[in-house]
Symmetry: C2
Subunit: 251 residues, 2 copies
């Protein structure tokens, strides 16, 4: 919790924080994990500080876990945010007093902070939320209905979304987000949800099958009125290979 950290600020990297943008996909919805800031109408990304004895990538996992309970997901750095005034006057004098922290802790908290952005894309239905601080509200919020965020968190979120979208051009996305057996239209819906636009059915089919990560199953989707679509599964070996080498081994 913040007070514990500020009472031991000498154990943390000064002026450096971490913010996590966790995107959750399920059933054609793209949500983002946010925390309500106590006694305000505002929300924030799950963020925190870097213990002196932790690598930054480890600290990102620690921060996310302690704020939300989320564990076992792979976080990737995507950008550093370091405008001079980004946290200037963020904590007013009143707030600092009400937190009952030492002068040292207060000085530590109000110094200039540079923050490292980490992101991940997960299936939100499989994630257990369990914040350490029980008075904090942690929630999946539709990425199109994000309320006002503190500091430059909207900018951080937007940049993470840009990165996620660019990622579709670099590597396959979908494993762990789709059911074990899925149709190409279901796969297309995932891409459409992330990109927030309609895609051409034939183009998508051609491109996605060209990648060579899909195994066509000898089964059709049930419960479909007519022209039942084929079911596919991921060829995990091929998937991992493309993940490693990138989509465009092409040059």
């Amino acid at each position: 919790m913040l007070k514990d950290i500020l009472d031991n600020s000498q154990n943390y990297q000064p002026g450096l924080s971490i913010d996590c943008v966790i995107f959750g996909f399920h059933d054609n919805q793209l949500k983002v994990l946010l925390i309500e800031v106590e006694n305000t109408q505002k929300w924030s990304l799950p963020g925190g500080f870097v213990p002196l004895d932790q690598d930054i990538d480890t600290a990102a996992i620690t921060v996310l876990n302690s704020r939300t309970g989320v564990e076992g997901i792979f976080l990737r750095q995507f950008a550093v945010f370091g405008k001079v005034m980004r946290n200037h006057n963020h904590f007013g004098e009143e707030v600092l007093k009400s937190m009952e922290i030492s002068e040292e802790g207060s000085k530590w908290l109000t110094q200039r902070f540079v923050t490292i952005g980490y992101y991940a894309l997960v299936d939100f239905s499989k994630i257990v939320l369990n914040p350490t601080n029980k008075s904090e509200t942690v929630k999946w919020i539709d990425h199109k209905e994000v309320p006002e965020l503190i500091l430059d968190h909207k900018e951080i979120l937007d940049k993470a979304l840009d990165t996620l979208r660019a990622e579709l051009n670099l590597m396959p996305v979908g494993y762990n987000l789709l059911p074990e057996k899925f149709t190409v239209p279901e796969f297309q819906k995932l891409y459409e949800t992330i990109l927030d636009k309609k895609l051409d059915r034939r183009n998508f089919f051609r491109k996605i099958t060209n990648i060579g990560i899909l195994t066509k199953l000898d089964e059709k989707k049930n419960n479909v009125a007519h022209k039942a679509p084929n079911l596919y599964s991921f060829d995990k070996e091929k998937y991992d290979e493309v993940l490693k080498n990138g989509l465009n081994q092409g040059w």
Copy 2:
């Protein structure tokens, strides 16, 4: 210079540095800009610290300029390096004493540092090297003949090279690196040099012309014995468009 910074360490973001990986291409060579560390056999990337009154992106430009004289190039963040022990014991007690810095400056310098990596790709023949510190040797060194580097600078360099190579799948590269009029084989050489591998001539021709950024000129390359290759130039408008939207607007 380092001593000036350490005498005024309160004006700098604590525990945060910047390192720049500047790749230089010219005449089918890919080099990297390095600085010789005084009185050692080792080299380092041009790096430095973040003034409290500068955004990190501005500080990167300041750092690069003061160490090498390089100006007017576009630097991009590519990763943050923050292992706990990355600069542990980097400056021995002897070295610290010989620098004649205050105890405060010495404490500041030996704290844990997290570093932000920035990179760029330029035509090295167009760059003027002019370091502020005249006793420092700044040099373009072939990327395959990089000598021993300090700290984790080899890791930073490798990661930047990975990023540069991945970039070829994301956006066109070549403007400002090739002459105004060039042949497709010359363009292919640029890609081969960056990727450090031979590419198939026909595949490359098909892919590069498909992007739609080349204008075929009504001229042939002179001084070629037989079958003079066509000359091309960049369609700058189209080039900028693809740069903005990415190579794979495809989904």
